[in-house]
């Protein structure tokens, strides 16, 4: 580790001991969040989400395809993420690397396991024709906490998406059928025994472990993913879950407000 990162690490550790973070936030506090659904005209659904400087655009496209043999009556979701070199000097062009794959799969599980999309209503002809929902995550600016930013953008894009039935001669367009209240992903990082939510890039770079927890409105769990090569105690895991439930409630409210605004504009 060269000299600058070591200095930065020492500084972040020192602050953490005093209960402080480099941008002045509390340990459980998120940066400002903005959610702008509907910004891509060519997409069936889309959203730009900023958490602090981190910025993600998610787009939903839909196509007609064949169902999987084991779920003949059900639509299909496919989630991809690209860590394009636009967003960071460290991202490289080329096929998705491990980090992008993990990001896509964690976002995907958050959506799939909570059955946010009513896939059973995306069957056109049982065993023959169903709707495929493509979620594409484009990271635009990377300053930490991609998991939360990407899940939130994907949810905002899904909740405001329109099924393009007319394009395929399948009747009138209609809103993508979604279930009520989505689970929200909240991520905490651990370094030097401190647990901080919504880590900055600088904090991620010195972190030992990371935990992402998706909780629903009732505080139930729907997906978890531990990352990095450090470990957690059982108590730390529980503490993070509790923090995720609290933060999740607040973020869910923001998400719902942004969706409402779009729906009102449409009518």
């Amino acid at each position: 580790m060269s000299i600058i990162p070591t200095l930065k690490k020492d500084y972040i550790y020192k602050l953490a001991k005093q209960g402080k973070r480099i941008d002045g936030r509390g340990f459980n506090e998120y940066r400002p969040i903005t959610i702008e659904p509907g910004i891509i005209r060519k997409a069936e659904g889309s959203a730009r989400v900023k958490i602090g400087n981190t910025q993600v655009v998610a787009g939903v496209k839909m196509d007609v395809g064949e169902p999987y043999p084991d779920t003949p009556d059900s639509g299909v979701i496919t989630t991809s993420a690209e860590l394009i070199p636009l967003a960071s000097p460290d991202f490289e062009a080329g096929p998705p690397q491990e980090d992008a794959i993990e990001l896509a799969r964690v976002v995907d599980r958050g959506i799939r396991e909570a059955e946010v999309v009513k896939l059973e209503e995306l069957c056109i002809e049982p065993g023959e024709k169903i709707w495929i929902v493509f979620i594409d995550i484009h990271v635009i600016d990377y300053d930490g906490n991609l998991f939360d930013c990407a899940s939130l953008a994907s949810l905002a894009a899904l909740y405001t998406a329109i099924v393009p039935a007319e394009k395929f001669d399948l009747g009138e367009n209609y809103p993508l059928p979604m279930r009520g209240e989505p689970p929200i992903s909240c991520t905490a990082a651990k370094f030097n025994n401190a647990l901080v939510f919504d880590p900055l890039l600088d904090e991620e770079e010195v972190a030992e472990a990371r935990l992402t927890v998706a909780t629903d409105a009732k505080g139930d769990l729907h997906a978890m993913q531990k990352g990095l090569s450090g470990g957690f105690t059982v108590d730390e895991v529980k503490k993070i879950i509790k923090g995720a439930i609290v933060n999740g409630r607040e973020i869910r409210k923001k998400l719902q407000e942004s969706i409402e605004k779009v729906k009102q504009n449409d009518t």
Partner: protein, 249 residues
């Protein structure tokens, strides 16, 4: 499809020499060294610049100058039918001609063995993305403080409204900045990029059908379009730096 009426009014109401609405903002990203957000009609583009930095892998280094790598990329959701992520042949050709055009104005011999990486992301696409992308890239380069002889700018002209009878083309109008239907159902497209101070042509492609005279008209029109867009580029840069400038007064 009737792309232009008897009075020379186009589908979206524009005159033959009118551009679509353009909005340019410089310095929009936190991480990149220079960046630009640009809307051009229905196109939405973000460009970001990293470098000059050591070119990797090492065998790509040029011992006497910097290498300019423009990477044009379309988001999967930016087009009518979802595009598979990753570069296709079209993107790679556009990346190549864009790199060549930008290299001409960048003072590359200041940075031997370096690369200057220009990332162009098309978030929403509606005809003319290569011109929009190059124009945004130029602003991002300037925002990054990369030394350049000029700020390049791109614009297209084309021809619409001709009738084609078994390969024979009759009539048609030379117009500026083709829109979506004009691009799909028009007769020719001529995207160019220039260095506006000298009018040197940095990028030039053409397909379709133009008589020599029509080509001259189209080239002239595209040049004029470039100069209009060039002003918007400079304003965007000024808008970003004006607060700093005023502060220093």
């Amino acid at each position: 499809m009737k792309l232009i009426d008897e009075e020379g009014r186009r589908l979206d109401g524009r005159r033959f020499d009118e551009l679509r609405k353009i909005k340019i903002e410089a310095g929009v990203l936190h991480r990149a060294e220079g960046s630009c957000y640009l809307e051009w009609g229905g196109n939405k583009v973000v460009a970001a610049v990293y470098g000059p930095r050591e070119a990797v892998p090492r065998h790509t280094q040029d011992p006497v100058k910097a290498v300019v790598n423009a990477r044009y990329n379309m988001a999967a959701f930016s087009v009518d039918d979802r595009k598979k992520p990753g570069p296709d042949r079209r993107s790679r050709e556009i990346s190549k001609v864009t790199s060549e055009a930008l290299e001409r104005v960048i003072i590359t011999d200041l940075f031997p063995r370096a690369s200057i990486d220009v990332n162009i992301e098309i978030l929403d696409a509606e005809a003319g993305t290569r011109c929009a992308g190059l124009t945004a890239a130029a602003v991002a380069l300037a925002d990054a403080g990369i030394p350049m002889r000029d700020i390049p700018v791109a614009c297209a002209a084309g021809k619409i409204g001709a009738e084609v009878v078994d390969g024979e083309v009759k009539g048609g109008y030379v117009v500026l900045d083709l829109g979506k239907d004009e691009d799909n159902y028009g007769n020719a497209d001529l995207p160019i990029a220039i260095a506006p101070r000298t009018d040197e042509i940095l990028l030039l492609q053409m397909d379709g059908h133009l008589t020599y005279e029509e080509f001259e008209q189209a080239l002239d029109l595209a040049m004029k379009g470039c100069h209009i867009v060039s002003k918007l580029q400079r304003e965007a840069l000024l808008n970003k730096y004006r607060p700093d400038l005023e502060e220093n007064l």
